[in-house]
Each structure stands twice: as structure tokens, then as C-alpha cells.
Symmetry: D2
Subunit: 464 residues, 4 copies
């Protein structure tokens, strides 16, 4: 049998495929990763064909049996991949015919590679969403545990990387937790659009056979069936949306990573990353480098790049299937892998972060971080806030000039700036008092954080 | 009063801002577009401050009155913008104090620009989502009307831009309709995450005042209040997600545009774009150029670019507010504008598209587009599909060699290829029969399209 | 020997690396591709160390010998890669010490992984530029041959995908040729910035040893040595610039691909892609799909995505080495591979393109494509061009109404539109005359194309 | 005169343009910015037409005179822009005819908007390159001056944001200087490809008139004329390349900005940004925020986004002009503006940066930053470097355990780790000695920096 004869579609062709084209076209090198999804879909398709009397039921059974055997072969690494098969779908069908003979040729009834590929790919992304959701939850659990541990750690919080206001460190851990909550929600929304069955759209027009799409959908766990066959075979929105959600999560991790890197410099020195998550230098024996957060931050580039790839592929593409769409898989596979391992690494790292509680508390005393509180007290005494703000601005300037904090100002000095300051006693507002003053929903007061921790604890129970 | 004194935050500063810095920092040039949202938020904030007794109720009323007067001034173009105000928020507050005096300084009690900006921006994007949704719906309505008009137009459908199978043209219009349905759904999902009130988070820690966030949320139409103040002031996920949704919709429009451009070439010649949507050439008097779809396609670049901008801005940014975030608005404004006008232009163009029904029908006869149907009939007679496919491949080759279509083959010639072909009578399968054979959900059979049109008709009623 | 002891940098560490971290950090999976470059650099470095008396010359020789042996082992697939080695550089050094003993530990004198990695990576990209240049030249040669073949093929040219003016088809092939010329030039410019030796910068400050950087640069073919050690170890501009150049070339290929796809539709039907470059359909036996150009077009997304990745990685990164930079290699490797194979496929495809010369000539008669020529003749007779343009506009409209071309208008009809038209005789301007009228540099006149072909022929000789 | 009649291309059209299309198509809102370039090109074109006898010389003079008058009108803000003019080119031509009558209609002889737009746009980008080059040079001058000022400031340098080795602070300023050198070089390379005259390509085929392209090129300062008219009207590589160069420079600025932000935190506290370059908080009176570097960093997103936009617009576009290309200008204009002001702001900021020389020197004593030097000394004594590295690793660990620096270890303790350490005397290596040991090209030794400063001083003279 000549090589050419092996192509399932070669009937009308008078030339064999050029080697460079074979190499160029073949997606087998990466789409073999879809073998479980492909086989899952094909088994259900075959059984449906049998149930509907489209092919003999015994043939359907033989096909299903053959497919399961192939799955085992691939699982065990015994399957021989051949680039001439083009893709995993053809590879599986070729092997099927080797195993069960020409009856294997009945499998491709009432479907096309166009709807078959879309089905496998949706199954993959659905699984990927579920797996990533689990991994985000694991990182969130670690952040939650840390928040609980640091309920009573007072720390400076930053805007513009300048010390801003005292907070409870728990609040910072929960800030990252909160961002990740949105990621899970967003993936869940994407899942609805992923989980629509395209099988039955065939090449683009639907099929001549009396298939049962609803049954197939139910068996494969799809929520619904696609409503327009042209759209269904050319739609890759679900992949782009998945890639956006992954990139967005990656951006969140990069923000956490950036803070870990900065907070663990010797200059900040408030977070210690365990040795087991750092590496050394090939030349500088004293170095301990925060590799994990740096890589997490760096990988954001890749995730954004993959999203761009997918959108560019789709831009200006006519409807239905075009070969350009073969470029959809690698970005999705790699984005999934990179986010997975980033989440795993951070989920293992987070429990071992050591915060220097004492240094944080000391830092929270610096930098006039209770200035807002002073201004707010003036305001509570009836001063319009803008005026209060101006008064405290002058107070800060006076302190800097004198080289002291608020508590270093005498009543006389305070009075010279503004008589109302004497009553406010700026020096008496401790960071903890400041934090606990922020007693509205979402604020950093102890009471609010305790309440939020309780809420989360309840939610976490639902995750399992 | 020196210029310096005008800065609300200048208390502790010893130098005045450099002109280049003023020019560089100022966002007033673009964020003035948020004035309605800013004022809406401030009015509700002020009233709440009064209700809670944080500021005197009469002051709250004067503030609200002043703000409404300012809105009118801006509406009427009477407001004097001054770059030294930095941004729209400061500009409004400055003017408020001009109008109602120092009591205007009470407005900024219990809030910070950080939560104020986030609130205005969320209101803007919420409005943008609603407006875009309406515009997508309008384009969908036009597509729906066209689908109805072309229920009985038989046309070739393409994969790889090669003629593939006969369809009803309605099916093609509905394919684009279906993609846009996902866009509306996606925007709706994003809206949930946009519609969370950040006000009350103040600078990043929450506020010392007993504000009523739930009341503010209700008054401003927010679904809920943010749960972590650090996260709330630095979160711009909602902008990124909006930009993704806009880019995705833009990609859909670019696909529609590409097809319009190709289908209206003289070579295809099956779609005619009305003169009113084309322009001519400055040099070639005979030209009629499809400017509208070309621009729609081109603008996709810009929409993807804006999404990238936003993600890059956020990458590696520490939590809470950093000035980098000022770069969030222009991409959102421009993406909204560009998608809006693209949708409007296509919604006006679509009803006027003329499809050349006769040419389409003729085209649908060409190209062996019923080959699948021939193969399927063989399969229905018991031949495994792969074998049927191979037989039809040979048939196509024989026809090409003879220079005829299926109907140009004699029974003898058919029999020579495969005896089963004689019974199938390939020449007898008309494009319409082919289309109507695709009678499963999502297929192009008349019955299925009629049913889908009915469904959509019902849905459309709910849109209003 | 415990696993931990294997890390070259582990002296100060008290914990061993976590498995997930090892997996996360390791770049060996992809940077092994740099083994030749790494070894080339190390051999020269070692010899230089010997020449300068920094290490004993006999040790240098043993090191060089060991390295060459390792290169052979990797070439032959005999080298055992171990993820615990982290990267190719450590893997080679580890093996070196296995082969020649502790003296292998002298190799890392006066260098750091920071400058070593940068050196290997620059060598790789230099090689990649040279290889891609060769491949672009090959495609250009094919385009040139086609241009020569189609010197006398008259064809319609398009703007806005609408027929615009008659050209010689050679001109179209040379248009693509010209764009590729810029790509070669751009890669050549990038090469200058790639070809700067960073070795000797060590970790970031330079080295304590009296190394001879100029000698190393000469031996490795670098044009110069880097001038600032901090910059040298953190600079990845050369990778970003390479990725831009690759993406730009990819965009050019996508434009060529788009035209091939459209021109080979049955509707256009003027270009035939050979069977050997197409594939069929799994369901539609009649299909012949232009997979190669579609994939080329699709891969543009990936190339643009890789460029974005790299820029995002570098955005906001402090100077010198940060682990984020490990993300630099995969985009470069993949961009190189994808562009390489795209160029190869197109270089093989181009010679086999069949243009339907007759159909093109016929098409060139249609569509009033000589309208500019009519207007120009009016202008040459003294009519201001704008007026000429308007007159021809009316002529075109009249022809459309009558359903004829220019030659279908009687003198009387012409005179009724404008008396000057009678003299111009619009119907007499053949497409060939039209083309040959464009006789200025860059124009499509035969004389100009012949001249351009000669120029290129001369240039091509210099390529070899 | 009806509105429709105003369109220069409307001859063959039977419908007037829809308002939404007019609004959608019009580029006048942004391309008016090209008026000087458009007029410059048109004046030279008209004079050439006269010189070549294509139009009467006196008409050419009237046209040139009219154009200059229009330039003055626009300069002075007296020109009335009307969206119905579509773009700046049509607006100028319309006004020309108002001023000099129908003879103005002769200007568009032998050209098309396609080559006219490309010419104006290239002139704009050429000017932009020159202006940006000047601005980069200004920032470099400021960095150079700072480097000179801090020749003898010893400071810690970082890899992975962890203290790595002592350097002279001049070296750090020069690192940023060096990166910018590449940007200037890259822009210069792009300029060659920008500076090619497309005028004379007309619509896409060249022109029927005997124009003198070389003369036009010389008059407009172009280096050469384009060699293929189809390529010339559809080529926007020069815009994409410009956008890449701008984005790359932006990435460099973002890296400088990131370091300024981190170094000016209170925790690092080694760089002070002057008040005039910071802003305060609307709520926190003590805040002084590094707005300028933050905005510079943020704007990188926008620059990368613009590059993406341009590449996406061009992806898959057929050759020659397509309306999509109208999307080329706004990203270029905005990228130019944003990079310009970022450069200006940093060039004004840099001279005023205050480095805390004392704190830096103290910091440079910390952190075992001379560890490499200790290892190098061991190596110079004959120990293989890897072994030296391991010994110093143990030394560092011992110091950490004892809570001292190298100088806190007794000879006995040193000997216990390794006898060779006693001779090396790790505690005696001062940061300055360490820095000055790095005495190879590109190293941080005083001698090398002095030499580099001299080289740069010479180069700077050539800039003017």
C-alpha cells in the first residue's frame, strides 16, 4: 500500500503530499494530547450510531471496544504514532481499522473532522477549567490559612509602593484571595460557553443521518447542543475566552509575585521565602534568589502572548473551518500547563512564607501612616475634610523638619500649626487603633476581618 | 493664591509641580468623559454622609445641589477645564467649592480618590456594556431579518474558502447571529463583576466613618459591595475583561467583514454592498470600495491592542493603587467608541445587502458540493463510510477528467467506478435536497431553520 | 552523594529544593537546544583562561577536550539529561566533572551563568538570523523565477479586493519579493546588535580575573564586546528585536497566503495550488483545501504572540538578571521554527503555482480597469485631472447602465457624456497598453519590469 | 451644490454616503495632524509636474502658492475642517480649489491618494524618529552627567532584586545609558526603511505621466524611491517597525522607572525624587508618590498595545491599499506622543535625583557582597572555582549562623571552614576594592568607568 493511499481523503488527488507539507500540516505532534477526549467522544458517537440504527449495533460495540483498547495502548505508551496520520483523530481511526478491520470505517459516519476536533477540544478545555479551578482553590486555601495566622499582625500597606496606612496583614492575604475568587467565577462563566456540543454539525451543514445529539450531549456531560452548524465548526471563542481567563489569573499571580519579591529584599526584609523555594547563584555564594515568584511573574508574558496568538488567528477569518484554526491548540495546552505549575508552586510556597511580625509592626509605626486618622478626627470635630487634610499636611511637614513622628510634637508645637490638633493628640493613635477604626465592610478592622474569615470558611466547605 | 496652593494634596510639599509633570500627570484631558459618573457617585455619597450624620444634612444638600449645577455646566459646555486640576474629580471638587464655598470640602469625607475613581469607572463600563448590548442586538435583529428573507435562497457554503456544501443562505446569516449571542452573554457575565461598589474602601484600608455602603450601592444600582478594600482600589480586572469582550466581538465582526469583502468582489459577485456604504477612488473613477467592512476588519487590531495595553499595565503591579492605573481609561473609552460605531455601521449596512439569489443558486450546483450526500447514500446502503468516501473521491476525479458534473456521468461510467453508484444516482441530488437532508438540530434543513427563526423571534421579544 | 549536594550553588542553603520548584525552575527541557552554543562558548572561554594564565594551560586543554566529547555525546543522543541539573549549562559542567574530574570546576572561573547564558543565546540567535536569511532568499528566488515566467502575463491588480488596474503578473510576484527584501535588511540590522559579546560581564559587575574579552569575541565571531556589565547580563533587546523581525516577516507571508487562498477559490480561479500542497476533507470527497497558505496565515498569530510575550516579560523588570528572563528562550525557539517551516513550505510551493494566464487576461479586460488611462488621456489633452476623473466617472455609470464596457459605447454616446471622450477613444486602450503606460520607476510597464529583473539577477549573484 | 457632489470620487455613484458611514470613514479627525507633511509633498509634486511639462508651469506655481496659504491658515487655526472632506488630503485639495479655482484640480495629476498618504505618513515618521532621537539623547545626557557625579559613589547592585555585588553608582547610570544607545541605533536603522519615496506609485501600478521621481525624492529629503508600486502603496512595515522601536524604548524606560520606584521607597530609601516630580494623596496628607516613574512604567502597556494593533491590522491583508490601513495613524501618533513626554519627564527628573551616598555605601558593606571576591581569591590561589564557591557558601552560612559579616569571623573560625580562608582574609575586602577589582572592559572598576565616561564625552560632541 503506497503512502498516499493512507490518506483518508485522497480519493480525488493525483499527487502525493510533499514531505515538507506533511511535516507542516501534521498536528499529531501536539494534538495527541487530546487522545482521551477524542476517544471518549468517538465511543459515545459510535454507540449512538448503533442505538439509532445508523450502523449495526454489533459494529458499534466492536468500534467502542477497539477504541478502548487503543486508549489503553496510548496510556501505556505502546501506540505507534506516525506523522503520516496527520492528527490524533486519523491516527486513532487508522489503528481502529487495524484492530477491527474495515468495519472501523463506519465510525466516521455522520460526522466530520470539523465537528470531531471541536468536540475533543471543548472536552479538553472543560477538563482544564475544572483542574485549574481546583488549583486556584488550593492557593486560596493557603492564603486563607495565612490570613488567619496573621489576623493580629499589624503591617504597613502601600499605595504607589509608599507606605500608606496600617492594616492587619490578614487583610493583605485576603486581598489576593479576593482577586482569585473572581478568576474562579470567570472560569465558571466561560465553562458554560465551552460546554456546548458541536458534534452533529459535521462539515458545516449538519448531517443526513438521524443522529441523536441530545443523547450524545448528555453522555458526554455537555449542557446543551450547538444551534448553528456553520458557527459550531468555526467557533473558537471558547479557546480565546479560556486564554483570557488564564492570562487574567496569571496577571493576579504576577502581582502577588511582585510583592513577594519586593517584600523579601533585604531592604524590606519583612517576608522570608524558604530556602526550598529559592536557588543560589553560580558565582555569588551568598545569593538566595526568589526564583519561584520571579518565574511566576515572567510567565505572565507567555500567557498574554498566547491570548494574543489566538485572537490574531481568528481575526478576519471566514466562518466555518479554516486550517488556521489548527493553531488553536498549542497556546491552550501551554497556557494550561504554565498556569497549573505556577499555581502549584505558589500553593506550596505560601504556607511556608515567614512574615517578620516584629519588623512589620515597627514599620507600621513609621511614616506618619496615621495621618488620615488625624485628619478624620479633625473632621469628626466639624472641620471640613479638605481643611483637615491641609492641617495634617502642615503637621507632617513640621514633623519632617523637626525629624520626629507625631508623638514627638509638643502640644505647643501642635497648637502653633492648628489649635484643634492639640485636642486630637496625633501621637496617641497607634497603628492598631488606626486599623481597627476602619470598621465598614471590606475594611481592615479586626471585627471585619474576623467576619470575612468566617464567611470564607463557610464558602470553603462548599468547594469540596 | 499661588498655583501650588490649588493642589488638594500639597500640604507637605516644598516644591511646586514642574510644568512637564503637570502635563504628564494630568488625566483631565480624557477622564472628563467620566463627569456624569463622577457626579452621580458624589451626589449619592454626599447624601449618605448627611443621612449618617457624618456631615450636616443641610451641607449634604448644598453639595448635591452644587454638583447638579456643575453637571449642567459641563453638559452645556460652560465648564472651564484647567489642567492644573489634574483630573475630573478634582475639577468638580474645585468648582464645587467655588459655588458653595468651604463646605464643599466636606464632600471628600470618608472617601479617597482611589475608591472614587474606581466607582466612576465601573459606572462608565456598566453603562458601556448596556449600550453595546443594545447595539449588538440591533445588528442581530438585522441579521435575523435577512435570514428570514433568505430562508429559501440556496447558496454554497465554504470551508477553507473552497465550496463545501449547499446551504440555505439564512443559515449563514444565523451563524453570525449565533456568534453575537455569545458576545451578549459574555458581556452580561462581565457586568456582574463590574457591578460591585468599591466606594467605602477609601485609600486602601477602609474608612473611620460610619458610612452606609449598602445604601450607596442600592442608590447607584450596584449589585453588591466590594469585600476587601486593598483589592478594591487596585482591581482593574473589570476593565480588562470588558476589553476582552469587546475584542472578541470585534473579532466576530472582522469575520463577517472578511466574508462581505470577498463575497462582493466581482469574482464572487454574490453580495452587493449599497453605494451608500462604499467610497470611490481618488484616481480610479470606476472603483467602488467596501470601506465599511474593511474598516471594521481593521479596527480589530486596535481592539486587541487595547486589551494588551491593559494587561501589560497590570502585569507585575503591586496591589492597591499605583499611578500606572491611570492608563486604564483611554483604552476602554476608545474600545467602546470603536466597537460602537462598527456595530452601528454594520447594523445599517446589513439590511441593505443584496444577495444575488440566482448566482448563488447556480454556484450551489457547481463544485460537486453534493459529494457528501452521495457518500452518505452509499453508507445508508450499508457501505462503511470510509469506503463510500473513497468511492466518491474516485467519482469526483472521473468527473473532473471528463469535464462534467455528477449528472454528466452515464450509468455505465458510474458502474465502472463502483456498481453501487448506479443505484445512488449522484446526478439526481439537487442542492436543495442536499440542504434539506441536514435535518438535525443546528442543521441547514428548511424545517430546522424555520424552527430556529421561531425561537429567535421569541427571544427578540424579550430583548425589548 | 545527596541530591542537594549536586546543586553548584547550594553552599549556603539549609533546605533542599522542593520537587515542584525543581520542576518549575528547570529550563533543561528546552535550553538543551543551546548545547552547541554553550559548548562553543565554553571551549573558547577555557582556552582563553589558559592563554591568560588564569588556569593552567593543560587544564584548559583537558576542559576543551572534555567539552568536545560531551558535544559528541549529545549529538549522538547518548547524553543523560537530568532535570536536577536545572539547565544545559549546569548539565554540561556536571558531565565535564564526571569526565575529567574536579579540574572541570576550573571552567566556571571568571564567568557567571548570567553572562554565559547571554552568550549562548546570542550565538543561537545569530545562527537563526543567518538561517532565516537563507530561507527568505530561497523564497525570493522562487518569486523571482515566477516573475520572470510571467513577464508577459497581463492580470488585474486589486485595491480593496476590487479590480483596480491591469498589471503584468510579474509585478505582483516582485511586490512580494520586495517586501521580503526589507525583512532581510531588518534581520541584518538586528544582527549587529545581537553580535556583541556579553561574556566577561560575569554576574553583573565584571570579573576580578585578567581575561581577554577581545580575543574571545574574535574567536566566537562577535563584532564587539559589551560596554557595560550590568546592562549586558539583563539585556534581552536582541531577542525582542529578533522576534519583531520574525513577526514582521510572518505578516508578509500571511499577506501572500491570503492572496493565494483567495486567488485559488473556484470563484477567482486564477491560481492553482498543486495537489501536493493541499489536503482533502475527511467527509467531503470533492474538497481540495489550501492548507499550506492557511497554516502560514494562521501561524502569524503565534509569531505576534511570541513578540508580545517577550516584551511583557521585560516590562518593568529591574536591570541585570532576574529569573523572569528564563522565559526568553521558548518564544525565540518556536518563532524560529515556525517561520523556518513556513518559508520552506512556501519556497517549495511557489515554483509549482499555476497561474491561469488566459483567465487572467480575460479578467483584465473587465471592470473598466483602464478608467485611469482614459482620465489621464483627457488630462494630457489639457483637462484638469479632477474634471477628467468626473467625466470618466459618468462614462462608467453610463456603461453600467447600458451593460457594456468602454468599447460598447458609440461615438455619439461618448460625445453626449463629454465631447473630449470621442477623441480619447476609451475602448481602444487595451490592458497591455494600460500596463505599459506605467513607465516610471516602480511601475508595471514591461520595460521597467525587465530592468528590475536584471537588477535583481545581479543582486542574487551576491547572495551566494 | 449638493453634499454628494463634493466627493471627488462620486462620479459613478448613484447614492450619497450615509451619515454613519461618513462618520465611520472619515479620518480627518486625526490625520489633520499630517497637514504640514501633506502640503510639503504636494508643493514638491506640483512643481515637478510643472518642470516636466505635465501641467503648465504657471499652474504649478499657483498651486504651490495656494498650498502655502492653506498651511498658514491651518497654522493659525483659521482653516475650517469639514468631516465631509473625509481626510486631510481631500480637505486641502478642496480648499485649494476654493482659493485658486478649477486649476487646483490639476494637482492630483499623476498621483493617487494611495501614494500621497504613504508619502505624508513617511515624512511624519521620519520627523518623529528625528525628534525622538533628540529626546533620547537628552535623557542620555542627563544620565551621563549623573554617572559623572557618582563616579565615586559605592553602591550595592542587584540581581533578582537581591544584593549581589558592590559597584560604582556611575556604572548603574551608564547601564541605562547603554540601553538607550541601542534605541537610537535601532531608530536610525528604521529611518533608512522609512525614508523611501512611494510617490509616483499612484493607485498601485505607477503612472502614465513622465514624472521625475528622483527629483521629488531629493527635494523631500528621501534617500531613494520605491521599486515596486504595488508594494509601495500597501507597505506599512515602516510604521510597525517604528512602533516596535518605540515600544522597546518604552520597555527600557519602564525598567529605569521600576528601579526608581523601588529605590525611593522608605525601605530602600537610597534615591530621593524631588517634590516637583511627585504628587500627594487626596486623603493621606503624608504621602509623596512617585507618579512620574509610575506613569512611565504604565505607558509601556500602551506602547506595546499600539505595536500589536498595527501588526494585527496588517495580518492577512491582501497587497496594495485596503481601507484597513487607515488604522495605521492613530497608534503611531499616540505612541510618538507618549514616548515623547515620557522621555521629557525623565530627562527633567534625572538631574534632580538625589542618591543617598552614605546609605548606599553602608548598604554595600552588608550582605556578603564580596563573596565572589573571596571565591576568586581562593581560585587565584589554585583552587578550582567550583570548590572556591562551595567554601565561600559554607563561610556565608557560618556567618549567618553567628550573626556577623565576614569581618566578624576569627582566623580560627575561618580555618575550621577551610584553611585557605585564613590567608584570603575575607573581612579585608572592602566594597571599593571589590568594585575596582572588576577591571576588564565593561566592568565597574574606577579606571574602566573613567575610560567609558571619556568615550561617551567624545560621542556626545558628535550628537550636536
Amino acid at each position: 500500500m503506497s503512502k498516499k493511499e493512507k490518506k483518508a481523503w485522497s480519493g480525488r488527488f493525483t499527487q502525493t503530499t510533499r514531505p515538507v507539507v506533511e511535516r507542516f500540516n501534521a498536528s499529531l505532534g501536539f494534538d495527541r494530547r487530546l487522545y482521551r477526549q477524542d476517544i471518549r467522544g468517538s465511543v459515545v458517537h459510535a454507540i449512538m450510531l448503533g442505538r439509532q440504527g445508523i450502523i449495526p449495533e454489533k459494529d458499534a460495540k466492536r468500534i467502542a471496544g477497539g477504541l478502548k483498547r487503543i486508549e489503553g495502548e496510548i496510556d501505556r505508551g505502546e501506540f505507534r504514532f506516525d506523522i503520516a496520520d496527520e492528527d490524533i483523530h486519523m491516527a486513532v481511526e487508522r489503528r481502529l481499522k487495524e484492530i477491527i478491520g474495515p468495519v472501523g470505517g463506519r465510525l466516521h459516519t455522520a460526522r466530520s473532522r470539523n465537528d470531531q476536533v471541536a468536540t475533543s477540544f471543548r472536552l479538553f478545555i472543560r477538563d482544564a477549567i475544572d483542574e485549574l479551578t481546583g488549583k486556584i482553590r488550593k492557593l486560596q486555601s493557603a492564603l486563607f490559612a495565612k490570613a488567619r495566622e496573621h489576623l493580629d499582625t499589624i503591617a504597613p500597606a502601600y499605595t504607589h509602593m509608599q507606605m500608606a496606612q496600617p492594616i492587619r496583614l490578614a487583610h493583605w492575604f485576603l486581598a489576593h484571595f479576593t482577586a482569585l475568587d473572581r478568576d474562579v467565577e470567570r472560569l465558571g462563566d466561560a465553562r458554560k460557553r465551552v460546554n456546548v456540543l458541536p458534534l452533529g454539525s459535521a462539515a458545516l451543514a449538519g448531517t443526513n443521518f438521524p443522529i441523536d445529539r441530545d443523547w450524545v450531549a448528555r453522555e458526554l456531560g455537555f449542557d446543551s447542543v450547538s444551534k448553528n452548524s456553520i458557527d459550531a465548526v468555526g467557533d473558537r471563542d471558547f479557546a480565546a475566552e479560556f486564554l483570557f481567563d488564564v492570562a487574567m489569573t496569571g496577571v493576579h499571580l504576577s502581582r502577588f509575585a511582585e510583592e513577594l519579591i519586593i517584600f523579601s529584599t533585604s531592604e524590606f526584609g519583612v517576608i522570608d521565602l524558604p530556602d526550598a523555594f529559592c536557588t543560589g547563584s553560580s558565582i555569588m555564594p551568598q545569593k538566595k534568589n526568589p526564583d519561584v515568584p520571579e518565574l511566576v511573574r515572567g510567565k505572565t508574558g507567555r500567557l498574554i502572548g498566547h491570548l494574543v496568538s489566538m485572537l490574531v488567528v481568528m481575526k478576519g477569518l471566514p466562518l466555518a473551518y479554516n486550517k488556521d484554526l489548527q493553531e488553536d491548540k498549542e497556546p491552550v495546552f501551554d497556557a494550561f500547563d504554565q498556569l497549573s505549575i505556577s499555581l502549584e508552586a505558589l500553593a506550596e510556597l505560601t504556607p511556608e512564607l515567614k512574615a517578620d511580625v516584629k519588623k512589620l509592626a515597627g514599620r507600621a509605626e513609621d511614616g506618619f501612616m496615621t495621618a488620615v486618622d488625624v485628619a478624620d478626627r479633625l473632621t469628626m470635630m466639624g472641620t471640613p475634610f479638605r481643611e483637615s487634610h491641609a492641617i495634617v499636611g502642615k503637621l507632617v511637614r513640621a514633623c519632617i523638619e523637626k525629624g520626629v513622628g507625631f508623638s514627638g510634637m509638643t502640644a505647643k508645637e501642635l497648637g502653633a500649626i492648628d489649635p484643634r490638633l492639640v485636642k486630637v493628640k496625633p501621637g496617641g493613635i497607634t497603628p492598631q487603633k488606626s486599623a481597627d477604626g476602619k470598621d465598614t465592610e471590606g475594611g481592615t478592622a479586626r471585627r471585619r476581618i474576623v467576619q470575612r474569615l468566617k464567611e470564607i470558611e463557610k464558602e470553603i466547605k462548599k468547594w469540596r
